[in-house]
Symmetry: C3
Subunit: 357 residues, 3 copies
């Protein structure tokens, strides 16, 4: 487990077993109209791909950027800027020490359809089929965008650089630290680009796991975020003043006020459930709580060394995360909420349904 990291490029070097000095990003134009999300370990929230390999691996990952009409609440949809066509974008799962070769085409100037499972695409697509809200419609909205992975340690103005519609960027990053990380568009106004829908989660599993891994029965990913929408002539559009004033119209788990209510998480009495919770903001905190449960273990930011016990509520800043386990005490319904009740009332609520033991 403590094998030396493999260096691939001349520029790379190691500090404390972690790899730095990755090669420069490449920006080019390619003739690509294939699946917008490619990679074996890319899923739709709340799913997390199983890491069916030992040790480390290089992941070839593509997540293209383009616009979609996306629903946030019943009757409330807007023309979102997206990674891979959904808000939040796909979940990437890798292991500490893995290398990611990432490619993203800015297809915001084209209509991209994502509602059908796609040959050569990621598990992401088949999981979308179960998503009640994926009646998304393609939208054309040409716009510069970029990709910033919090899980990567790189020169941001190189790898996270903004590309124009029609351009593709390609760069690598190493999962140097375990944890659950935000990714998002970093193009200015970053408040606007994230509020428009451009964020998602990367789960970097620790190379030696978490101490309770063997007992986990179900594992899910939750992304909390605020939406700042206003109605104008029957259409919902982004309201930058509201975003600046921290006055969200909706706060959601996994992008829709009903995402985790209409299709609740599942478990059984006596199960150990693990949640990877990312608060994507863009500005608010989350006081994450499961009604009827106490978190047996919490790993702040997902690092197994940041361990807390017996917590009723976990406070997360904007782009903070935690990995948390709880025991399902009885058959029944467990509501998940941001215990900042002004936000729960705006939609930050969901549920886990537990069957009998």
């Amino acid at each position: 487990n403590d094998s030396k990291p493999t260096l691939v490029h001349d520029s790379e070097y190691v500090i404390d077993g972690r790899v730095y000095g990755l090669p420069e990003a490449k920006v080019y134009r390619e003739d690509y109209n294939g699946p917008a999300v490619v990679g074996e370990y890319l899923t739709a929230v709340p799913h997390l791909a199983k890491l069916d390999y030992v040790g480390n691996k290089t992941h070839d990952v593509r997540v293209d950027v383009f616009s979609q009409q996306v629903e946030v609440a019943p009757g409330v949809s807007y023309s979102a800027w997206t990674f891979g066509g959904t808000v939040p974008g796909p979940v990437l799962h890798v292991r500490e020490g893995d290398r990611v070769v990432f490619k993203m085409k800015n297809r915001s100037d084209k209509e991209v359809v994502i509602t059908e499972p796609v040959k050569d695409g990621a598990p992401f697509f088949s999981q979308l089929q179960a998503n009640l809200y994926q009646n998304n419609k393609p939208v054309v909205n040409p716009m510069p965008h970029s990709m910033d992975f919090h899980s990567g340690t790189v020169a941001a103005e190189d790898k996270w650089r903004t590309i124009s519609p029609g351009e593709t960027i390609e760069f690598e990053w190493i999962a140097n630290y375990p944890g659950t990380y935000m990714y998002h568009c970093g193009t200015s106004s970053v408040l606007m680009h994230t509020a428009m829908g451009q964020y998602g989660a990367v789960v970097v599993s620790p190379k030696d796991g978490y101490p309770t891994d063997d007992d986990v029965d179900h594992e899910y990913v939750l992304v909390q975020s605020e939406h700042y929408l206003e109605e104008t002539n029957g259409q919902y559009i982004y309201n930058h003043s509201a975003a600046l004033a921290r006055d969200p119209s909706h706060v959601t788990f996994n992008g829709h006020v009903g995402a985790l209510s209409d299709t609740p998480l599942r478990a059984n009495e006596g199960d150990r459930v693990r949640l990877h919770v990312l608060n994507a903001g863009p500005s608010g905190t989350s006081s994450f709580h499961v009604i009827g449960a106490i978190f047996d273990r919490v790993w702040y930011e997902g690092d197994p060394r940041n361990e807390w016990y017996g917590m009723q509520t976990v406070l997360l800043g904007a782009s903070n995360s935690a990995t948390m386990d709880f025991i399902v005490p009885e058959e029944g319904v467990y509501k998940l909420v941001d215990h900042e009740f002004a936000d729960a009332e705006r939609g930050a609520a969901g549920a886990l349904i537990a069957g009998p033991r």
Copy 2:
């Protein structure tokens, strides 16, 4: 100390030494007009009952729900929804592993008087006598309510279910995890029910204690909360828009802007003072600070394993808590504040007065 937990009902089972699978709640009607708060270990804030028993115990506890005219600031009172007649409600103290058999009658359709000490009632009543603000007047306000103990691990839609005026609910929970926990009404709108006054604290002392227990001279309970009141025709009423906008009219410690100023906490120079601080929200954070002191130890959420040292300020999310010790350095006055000064200015301030060594 590591004795096996005692199982009482057929449905119960044990995971990691903790008891789950408690019997279903019972809802019935009873002809009860006795004391609204019953239980030896129930006190009024800032008091905490002494646990005068070894090992574990089953607690028979009653806290009835009903309305009272309650003062929040000089000249500002409103018709509160309460547990036991005060805001916050009574403090329950138990030990990790204890069983609580809880009963609550919804008496919101009747006038209930709580200002007199009550035969067979809890220590809570005699402590209220010292509370300057307990000139509370009974109010009739028939309304469904419920009780959600964060200290319990149960099926919420069973135990925390809503009952109508005239109904009584009875259920059990086990104090599986040590810490300081919020309880509150979970009936929709939960933002409104909590903001109307329905919350309080349960302190679950760790079975092996905290490392500094032997040195603690004084121990107090603080509950911070926001109030969203507006004046209409000389009356103060709850303002739901303000609650949604996170724009509190008052932020208090222990329910009144003067609660800990007019009757300050007491200690002496050189004492180790322990505070159990719960931020009940319903929406805001607390940056809890004692002016002139540094927290020698902080146990986040009250679990002895979540230990921090030497902290000037402790950040708490909505329904987060911490147990914290500080040494009183000199004779004098120590102000307690939410160091989010916009909230301190709205009332989140109190004091501890220290006598000579």
Copy 3:
């Protein structure tokens, strides 16, 4: 390193190796018009003085209080209340166990010039020369003020007492606990006095250091704060309603929206950079993040025992701090932000520029 503390005054006593019971503050009038900031270990942000002594030391420190016209953003300046003439005030660096003999004259009734290096003054003055914004102009604004060091454990109503223009206060405090601490004016309205500019940082280095001390290449101090300014007749003045409503006009690192952009922090690829970050509020939280980096180690509130690992973002309450290390992965620009993007957009952004390895 575990030598017994030296007691100096009869009133002093020791608990757990820490000194309490310091003598009463003295308030008097002195004929002093010398340098407003005196002390070898007082620097201008982002600098931190080197502790060029072993063991403990008594520091004679003066920071006078007076008004200055201070710029917060291009074209936005206001008549600030300051410690030492800048916002934030000077950084004091001491070691755990050190004694500080502190003197402050309230010179708010006089014009005090601080833009020139001063004979017998602190390193603070020469560092100001490199500060683009120190075209501050003296302002007369007679006002009572006080000094509250979070790093001190004392009777606040004695040492932190308010003094009038023309008065000098003198008191002592001991750096009993390591960490990065806020200091600020505690005179009512404390929301107003802090928002007007009266705050800064004390760094108390742990007596046994942090575990990575030997590997640190660069060490900087950052103070985040909100400003509540409104324009009236072409002048910017403090807006108390906005401060109460938590609606800042600007949020800054080190007092100016461009402070860390126009004169960025410096390091090289492969360096370990240490930041001491204080969120001075007065009311908001900070979700502190470095774009392109992950914090290898974080010591919450600066205590080496409060250690976290591998964090993308560190959440700080009002008057919370953290000391954090990160490895600079590549040559390039690393933006520092409050990842609460509504605040980043108001100015809470800066940069570190890394040269080649």
